[in-house]
């Protein structure tokens, strides 16, 4: 078995606001192994981005606060490191790629300057070496005429190319862990396919671990080894990717799968949406946060918030009634598959 790279234990993040304390992350625990790809799936406000920003120590404090938790990365608790020590890790051992390629690059610096910055800082390269390495990195993410483009500014690149530049910056110091926060959400599907293709290739070549944050179950199905489904700051279900899609055991996961139209289905009369809205993170209920929207709810769910319970091999679900979910979900997920474009014809 491979070794543990990142061990997150009971992580909580809160923000003090005018309306009260927003409980963004509420006791998240998971383990990431070396070279593993983990998908973090959830809707806006589910805490998927905030939990990773907390791992990276990028939460502004105040208003942010981390009342409990440990983030053990290669034996050290990142939450206990000094700002200087953290700087040695950020960008070097753990790198992050953000959602919006339009705003995450500095518009007044050339692409070359922005890539070489990390190389000179973390790898101790001189200017010439760094430039050479920067050109290699751009080639690695399929940017043509890499050497010439180093002197261009971000506005001279398209959205997809900027995101590739961001990935090149993320990979510049050969990190052990790359955190990608919805890196393809702002992009068109054909460009998204380019990016996921590059990331899959680079992962094979470089062997780093990836945490891929997304709201798109389709994107993550083809990428991740394991998936954490998040809701209201909790991990509500976690399982290996194939197991999760074949055997979802939390009502929210079932709801998500039932509410997305699939390309490989015929025109269906109706989707099965999740009715209602997620709960207010200031006034979280005592019981299960999904109670209001859940079709499997019982009295117990109102009184006690379910912990993650083992429901199968490497499969945990935070639902008291997961057996009911197992029996009834097929009615919700009923689908008829048609041949898919892009599938090799036999």
């Amino acid at each position: 078995m491979s070794n543990t790279l990142l061990d997150v234990r009971n992580l909580r993040t809160e923000f003090a606001t005018q309306d009260g304390i927003v409980h963004a992350v509420n006791g998240v625990s998971f383990v990431l192994e070396e070279g593993e790809t983990l998908g973090l799936v959830g809707e806006s406000g589910s805490g998927k981005s905030v939990s990773m920003l907390t791992v990276m120590r990028l939460i502004p404090m105040p208003p942010g606060r981390i009342p409990s938790g440990e983030v053990i990365f290669q034996g050290n608790d990142l939450l206990k490191l000094s700002a200087e020590e953290m700087r040695q890790i950020r960008g070097n051992k753990i790198a992050m790629v953000f959602q919006d390629p339009m705003t995450s690059l500095n518009p007044v610096l050339t692409i070359g300057t922005q890539i070489t910055e990390a190389l000179e800082l973390h790898m101790g390269m001189n200017n010439e070496q760094a430039r050479k390495r920067a050109a290699e990195l751009l080639k690695m993410v399929n940017i043509p005429e890499a050497e010439r483009r180093l002197d261009d500014y971000p506005h001279q690149f398209s959205g997809g190319m900027r995101q590739r530049v961001m990935i090149a910056i993320g990979l510049s110091c050969s990190p052990q862990l790359l955190i990608a926060d919805e890196p393809t959400t702002a992009l068109d599907v054909t460009i998204q396919a380019q990016i996921t293709d590059i990331v899959k290739r680079l992962k094979r070549e470089l062997g780093m671990a990836i945490i891929w944050i997304t709201h798109d179950l389709g994107v993550i199905a083809g990428l991740a080894d394991r998936i954490n489904v998040m809701y209201s700051g909790y991990i509500v279900e976690t399982a290996p990717t194939k197991e999760l899609f074949a055997n979802p055991l939390h009502p929210y996961t079932v709801g998500l799968l039932g509410s997305i139209p699939r390309l490989d289905e015929g025109k269906r009369e109706k989707l099965t949406p999740i009715e209602g809205l997620p709960p207010d993170l200031v006034n979280l209920p005592v019981g299960c946060p999904f109670y209001d929207r859940c079709r499997f709810r019982t009295e117990k769910c109102l009184q006690e918030n379910p912990p993650l319970m083992s429901v199968g091999v490497k499969h945990w679900s935070a639902c008291w009634n997961y057996e009911d979910v197992r029996q009834q979900r097929d009615a919700i997920l009923k689908r008829t598959a048609l041949p898919v474009a892009g599938t090799p014809q036999s």
């Binding site: 809707e43 806006s44 398209s158 997809g160 190319m161 068109d188 599907v189 054909t190 460009i191 998204q192 396919a193 380019q194 996921t196 293709d197 709201h215 798109d216 179950l217 389709g218 994107v219 199905a221 083809g222 990717t241 194939k242 899609f245 074949a246 709801g255 998500l256 799968l257 039932g258 509410s259 997305i260 139209p261 699939r262 390309l263 490989d264 289905e265 015929g266 025109k267 269906r268 009369e269 109706k270 989707l271 099965t272 949406p273 999740i274 009715e275 809205l277 048609l338 041949p339 898919v340 474009a341 892009g342 599938t343 090799p344």
Partner: protein, 341 residues
């Protein structure tokens, strides 16, 4: 039970070939000028956002219009509704060419065609109450006044599954999905036949998207609406549309019924687009082979000569660089614009 507002006939079968189209778009072009100079502005070039497209929309059907950002799909929707005046071409709606209509005549036509916008945060005036927002089209078109108006607004709120007591609230008090329902109620206020839905769900969370998709489907059945459904998400378009048109750089490259488009895509761009859409199933994803397009979409200011797709096309042959392919029917209402297929 609530009363049906000015009951309409049930939608006629959309597939019948002899059905008269509700909307005919012929060789529609929309160019936006690029100007230079301060006092004497001189036109130096055009952004050819929509560059000669032809299609019909049949009554009661949903025509999906898909393409990537910048392909001209939203401009098409807006030009059809005359929110942008077309540079060339005609838009025939209920036997009148909208491109020729002006002023009062055009304004009257607008009560038959409405739009649902993409961004529910930007398309509702934050200083108006929900009641005023939905009532505005009723006032503009002199449909209802006073008590009758209020009742109609409450009825509309119920139709989109919102509580009629929300009438005095402001948009900021609602979530994204609820706001989109308000936008839909506003579009329905004048009892239109035809609605352009411009990416109505792309700003919403996944679980909320399904609510809106279902609502649009129910309303179509109930009021016999015809939709032009603009979106970049092919899975959604497939789910909701009877026929689908695929746009690339200002042109429609393929148009057919949605089953045929997915089962038998002909244009190389359509094939690449379909293969790029991820499917939420790891077993299928493992086996799929993607057609990865190289490069980016060229600029619509200087679209490539010949076929616009030839710079990225895996099937391109010499003629594609020189001669623009014709828009032709390859059988059974399946249109395509390509030399190779």
């Amino acid at each position: 039970m609530q009363a049906q507002p000015q009951t309409k006939l049930p939608p006629p079968a959309a597939s019948a070939n002899d059905t008269k189209p509700i909307l005919q778009v012929k060789d529609l072009k929309k160019y936006f000028p690029i100007t230079q100079g301060i006092l004497f502005q001189k036109k130096v070039a055009d952004v050819k956002a929509v560059d000669g497209i032809t299609f019909d929309v049949l009554p009661g059907e949903t025509l999906g219009l898909v393409g990537e950002s910048g392909c001209g799909k939203s401009t098409t929707g807006r030009t059809i509704l005359q929110l942008y005046r077309p540079t060339e071409g005609s838009v025939i709606f209920e036997n009148k060419d909208l491109a020729q209509l002006k002023g009062e005549d055009l304004r009257k036509m607008r009560s038959n065609m409405q739009m649902i916008f993409q961004d529910p945060y930007a398309s509702l005036n934050p200083r108006m109450t929900v009641g005023d927002i939905i009532a505005e089209p009723l006032e503009v078109h002199n449909i209802a006044k006073g008590k009758e108006k209020k009742e109609r607004v409450q009825e509309l709120l119920q139709i989109v599954n919102l509580n009629p007591y929300f009438i005095n609230r402001y948009p900021h008090e609602f979530s994204g999905g609820q706001r989109q329902r308000i936008g839909i109620a506003r579009a329905l206020a004048v009892n239109p036949d035809f609605i352009v839905c411009d990416e109505p769900i792309s700003a919403l969370d996944v679980s909320i998207q399904a609510q809106i998709i279902n609502l649009l489907g129910e309303l179509q059945e109930r009021f016999g609406l015809t939709y032009l459904f603009i979106a970049h998400d092919l899975s959604v378009v497939r789910h909701i549309s009877d026929r689908v048109a695929v746009m690339y750089l200002g042109k429609i490259v393929e148009l057919t019924d949605s089953k045929a488009l997915y089962a038998n895509p002909l244009h190389p761009y359509t094939r690449a687009l379909l293969s790029a859409v991820p499917i939420p199933d790891p077993v299928i994803e493992e086996k799929r082979e993607r057609i990865i397009l190289v490069g980016d979409v060229p600029s619509p200011v200087n679209p490539p000569k010949g076929c616009r797709f030839h710079t990225r096309c895996p099937l391109a042959i010499p003629i594609c660089k020189e001669v623009a392919p014709e828009w032709r029917e390859v059988g059974n209402g399946h249109f395509v614009e390509c030399h190779v297929v």
